[in-house]
Amino acid sequence: MTRVGFLFALAYRSSIVMTCVTLVAQVFLLRMIWTAVYGSRAEAAGLTLEALLAYLTLANLQSFATQTLVSRVIHHRIRSGTVFFDLARPIGYLRQMAAFQAGNTAGSLLLLAPVVPVVLLVGSITAPVNGPGYVVTLVLGYVIAVQLALLISLLGFWMLEIGAVSLLYQLVSQFFAGTMVPLAFFPGFLGTLAEVLPFKYMGYVPAAIYVGHISDISGPLLVELAWVAGLWALLALAWSRTHRRVVIQGG
């Protein structure tokens, strides 16, 4: 299944290339805007302009890398009834879908690789303050992203029409990941909300660790592990309930 996910990314390379172009454009625009906002100020909310630009560049790269296709594929397969075949396999459904996503991410990263230098050039980058911490928190953040995507996808077994829900989910997750504005700038209530939601682990937290804005990683790491474990249990529960009422369309 991993292989299928990988090939899927290559089969849809034109759409991924388009996303890469968007990525470059977005990083460029963010750089312009934030440079203007900072003006002659040296730093804001404890971030120098240099660190902020590095942060934004990274966060956007990450947001691309942790994007998931799996909910769209699941949605499509439920609607067309081909999900029947996934369910008829001797291997668990969620495991198959997670493997698909892993392969798909690998394929997308392969296509992304040549664009990385361009993004770094357009944006800005500094040497990592805490490289290993960055990698570990990012990988866990990716796991959380996949788990959440699977959880959303399971809704499709209940509602059959989840286009709007997944669009909303995408917007919310992007925003609260902090790819446009670092979470440190979120005011009051919004800040608290962003703080408790798990989306920051896909964008803000790893990037902030990279640029040294967060120095003690043990706290975020523990919370991430708790999220992974909690979502794991939730997925298992949700799947066992969903499983029992599966209805396949058409005959």
Binding site: M1, R3, V4, L7, F8, A11, Y12, S80, G81, T82, F84, F85, L87, A88, R89, P90, I91, G92, Q96, R244, V246, V247, I248, G250, G251
Partner: protein, 312 residues
């Protein structure tokens, strides 16, 4: 091999409302419509049998097959497939079963056919050598070579169906569920599918449950059929018993009398006699009394017999 007893499946879906706010009411309603798709169905199927599972549209055939594969949980009744309860021992059951749904495909649309077959190989834990051997056999049997590397969306229906058959039997399951495997195929492609089923059944002693609307499939492949309608079994037995009826003589008479020799005129103005014994003598004696305008002899065939059963 398969033992089904009192199988019943009731679908429950929220009632749909029309009119203003209909969609909203549908969403929040607690009222349900119930639809009994399979109603107290029982049968036994032995190893190596090829069963024609027949019935008109909406009879409950596909629903039965979904239950047998373990995808759907029945509302009532028991099922044992090789001693397993399909929906409880899903994974173990899945390894021993191959499925084709002619109306849809298990092949990945955007990828070359070979990739879907590779996926099947890995999902069913096939060692590389066994995969290659099985693939080799299927390539010859189904003529896959010309389109093995073509993306599935570019295949013709017949080619796609061959690909689907290959994916279903790749891991050599002892049991095959084929739901309309010849739907939409031309005569030659149908013939190829039938030959493949015969071959698979013969060499692997594979048990096959086949649903189809093409009775030629049934005549070519099945010794026994199970007929269902509205979820209920109407007939279960050998085809021979079903078509074991006398040939019939159909005559159209000039005078079109109400009744001739105890046979009354049908709605097309014809008289239909069962043929027993001497046919020329029978015709001679009728023409002695009436002028025959037209005459034909009907062989008992599956189609008319089955039509008769549905009509009851």
């Amino acid at each position: 091999m398969i033992r089904v007893d009192g199988l019943t499946k009731v679908f429950r879906r929220p009632r749909t409302f029309s009119g203003p706010f209909g969609a909203l009411r549908t969403l929040v309603t607690r009222q349900y419509e119930e639809k009994t798709a399979v109603d107290d169905v029982s049968f036994d199927i032995g190893e190596g049998e090829v069963i024609g599972y027949l019935g008109p549209n909406g009879a409950g055939k596909s629903t039965t097959i979904k239950i047998l594969t373990g995808i759907l949980t029945p509302t009532a009744g028991t099922v044992r497939v090789n001693g397993l309860v399909p929906w409880r021992d899903r994974s173990a059951n899945a390894r021993r079963v191959g499925v084709v749904f002619g109306q849809r495909s298990q092949l990945w649309w955007d990828l070359p056919l070979i990739e879907s077959l590779r996926l099947v190989g890995s999902l069913y834990d096939m060692p590389a050598a066994r995969f290659e051997a099985s693939l080799k056999k299927l390539r010859d049997l189904l003529g896959l070579d010309e389109f093995l590397d073509t993306p599935v969306r570019q295949l013709s229906l017949g080619q796609r169906m061959r690909g689907d058959l290959a994916a279903a039997v790749l891991y050599e399951p002892p049991l095959l569920y084929l739901d309309e495997p010849t739907v939409g195929l031309d005569v030659l492609a149908k013939e190829a599918v039938r030959e493949f089923i015969v071959e698979t059944n013969r060499t692997g002693r594979t048990t096959v449950i086949l649903t189809t609307h093409d009775l030629a499939d049934v005549e070519a492949l099945c010794k026994r059929i199970i007929l269902i309608d509205h979820g209920k079994v109407l007939f279960d037995g050998p085809i021979d018993a079903l078509v074991d009826q006398p040939r019939r003589l159909v005559v159209l008479l000039e005078s079109a009398p109400e009744e001739v020799r105890g046979v009354s005129r049908d709605d097309q103005g014809r008289h239909v006699f069962d043929i027993h014994g001497d046919l020329p003598a029978m015709i001679a004696s009728i023409s002695a009394e009436h002028t025959i305008r037209d005459l034909s002899i009907e062989e008992p065939d599956l189609e008319s017999v089955i039509k008769g059963i549905y009509a009851r």
